[in-house]
Assembly symmetry: C2
Homo-oligomer: 298 residues x 2
Amino acid sequence: MSFELSLNTGTTPTLSLEQAAEAVAESGLQHIGPWRHLLEQAGGAEKAASIISAAGLKATTLCRGGFLTPADVQGRRAALESNRAAIREAAAIGAGELIMVVGGLPAAAHLIGGSGDPADKDILGARARVAEGIAELVPYAAEHQVRLVLEPLHPMYAADRAVLSTLGEALELAADHPAETLGVVVDTFHVWWDPQLEAMIARAGAENRIASYQVCDFNLPLAADALKSRGMMGDGYVDFPTISRWVAAAGYTGPVEVEIFNEKINNQDARLTLETMRQRYEELVLPSLREAEAGVRS
Amino acid sequence: MSFELSLNTGTTPTLSLEQAAEAVAESGLQHIGPWRHLLEQAGGAEKAASIISAAGLKATTLCRGGFLTPADVQGRRAALESNRAAIREAAAIGAGELIMVVGGLPAAAHLIGGSGDPADKDILGARARVAEGIAELVPYAAEHQVRLVLEPLHPMYAADRAVLSTLGEALELAADHPAETLGVVVDTFHVWWDPQLEAMIARAGAENRIASYQVCDFNLPLAADALKSRGMMGDGYVDFPTISRWVAAAGYTGPVEVEIFNEKINNQDARLTLETMRQRYEELVLPSLREAEAGVRS
């Protein structure tokens, strides 16, 4: 089967891994993309793996590694350690893919609970450290048969979360490493606005780099917490049919993951969320994926 | 003189054109970039021209034309009419340049007081209409010796304000038209995050397209009204020395305009704003411009 719908647990943050796995299974889906803190809450990656398989599910991705931009030696060392642990966890739960949010500027680190030189706004330097960190982690990921997945984030998060803002930039960064160990994710919220999106999705496909397709909408006005501006497909301004056609035309046939940070959706009954996301997926996303898939095959 | 500091009246929105011109002159600056509604309040473009010249100032840019994305015939006709009027106004006040904010998706038009099909989220179609509108306006602008200046806006405004998000995309759009009639503006708030920024500033310089350099910072957390997240240089996360070097190395020597939408700054005493912006400009922007200018000359 292609294009199986998957729930990213960021969409249902009030649920434990066990609760989320149950809700996903009940709704008839077979894939789940957990966040790391749920593994920890569940008592570790091995326990988490049992929970996921007991529910009859498969883990698609693990969220998340990254944050490779600290400028100080200690910060960099801690970041690499954390990423190695994340790689081991991804392997343990059978998620072949670890999503990487690469990190922002040292000057903005305090905004996400970190620390860094308040004067360090050097985005080129931060990007160079991301490239170094990735180079260091790729062999370790390969050993564990985990694929690191670079996630370009919307440029509104360039200062505090990811100095990697476009799919094109992610592909440039990936170019030095094998496609089976370093992929990219196409997350509609983050990249829908990009004038080079069609070309870069095609390139990502040609290079076998598309590791994941994540769908969620771009809502306006932005939420008070900008991170929570993600919306249910159809509620915002993303042209899902067009982007979905591009993704399938590039040869992607894997799971399609729904990751929505949104105050209302995150606090409503998870069954309602799962039901709505399936409806919207079948209405706005899947038909275009299927149509383009048929075109690729023919 | 090169790199003369200019006040965009969006920074001092409580002032009339006359008050803004007086404040600018008192602070020792010689350039002002007015918004159209101030011309109207002043009794028209001719009157505005007298006010500006009576204060001993020169108008750098007029803000703003654009909003060329309506999908209906009537909306498009109205947009073109409004832009032709803006071109005449720019000519009347001696501003050689009309800043163009190209417009967003029809589905989001209601967010900025317009109307459009709530289902129309076709960003490719919207971009095509921008290209058509620009092509229609270029000859009219040339007749009036006004240069249209494409402003790529931060991608967080792609849905509601501008489907033009990068300098590279602006240059592609400009490529069909003469550089003397169609330029681009480099506004640090909008483009600081772009991985292609250095290359695209260099290209814009080589193609003689850099019509304006606007400086203001990118603040976090984003303001409740995302439009007002612009900050005084130094208060946010933009690396001004680096970007300023790129701009001057590309051969730009014109005015540097400060346009800040920010609740606190917009409501404080304009003299304080002018004083602060001059200090920050001389500290964070001007030295790098001068340094790179010297490199270009040598």
